[in-house]
Subunit: 138 residues, 2 copies
DNA sequence: GTAACTGCAAAATATTTGCATCCTT
DNA sequence: AAGGATGCAAATATTTTGCAGTTAC
């Protein structure tokens, strides 16, 4: 997938710029989710802080990445699965946050169990965040 | 439970002050979760913004309220169940966010289904956030 | 060449901290 | 009376917006 970066940008009708390439590459290479600060650190002073905000926002709008609900309410982003298209997300996978190393994993292969809602409630999306120790820290 | 406010504060070794009483009462009366801004609005100019921050923090530390992981990463708080004690939370219930009215419900009676984690991962807590339409908006 | 993207400056918002004063016990 | 809680001021952090200059196509 590392070489599909330009293709991903093109597919989403985004012009190919240094910052977009670099930031998308960070996500592809990252095993977990990234916060704005992570990107700022890993990209050095290469881009303006504002550019990172705008790039992340663009990626979210295009369905390339999505935000993750976290227990500590910090803002984190992760790559969407291919099924995600603009305005139509299929993020029904489990997120795992390690209490030790702080890394966030997208467990794409763990299916989200169905939740029995009270009468009258209609679900459109279900997010599951599991926290504990990851395979490296257990 | 409306009359147990002072008792709740005492039980947690907190001195009984106007702001704590008022803020705790807001939570007891609220059908859903509250954000810092909600509290600020509903309490008028009665308390300083900083007092609200500190009160919420104190309540979280004592296990009276807990933060809710939200899809939009806004910070929201809700009353803990009685089983929550200091440093030892049992928040394994489902949270529901209504896309229409924005209200957050704690579905205490909906049990969180077990999640099958990959080998090596150990779960200590599971949060489930369901979004969609609530019983009033469906 | 044109529309889109970036960087810089600055505004708006959110959160934290220090300290003097006031209130609860 | 003593310790903790509050209010105010200010420091910090976070996010958004406007605009002029630059770049991708």
């Amino acid at each position: 997938m590392l070489h599909g970066i330009n293709e991903t940008l093109k597919r989403n009708q985004l012009s190919i710029t240094d910052s977009r390439k670099k930031i998308l590459e960070l996500f592809v290479r990252a095993s977990g989710a990234l916060a704005h600060a992570d990107i700022e650190n890993q990209s050095g002073t290469e881009f303006d802080r504002v550019t990172i905000y705008r790039t992340l926002q663009t990626f979210v709008e295009k369905g390339i990445i999505h935000t993750i609900p976290t227990a500590d309410n910090s803002v984190r982003y992760a790559l969407c699965k291919d099924a995600c298209t603009e305005g139509h997300h299929h993020d029904d996978h489990v997120h795992f946050m390690c209490d030790d190393c702080g890394k966030t994993y997208c467990l794409d292969h763990v299916t989200v169990p169905a939740v029995a809602l009270p009468k009258g409630f209609q679900a459109t999306q279900t997010d599951v965040i599991v926290s504990g120790k990851c395979m490296n820290c257990a």
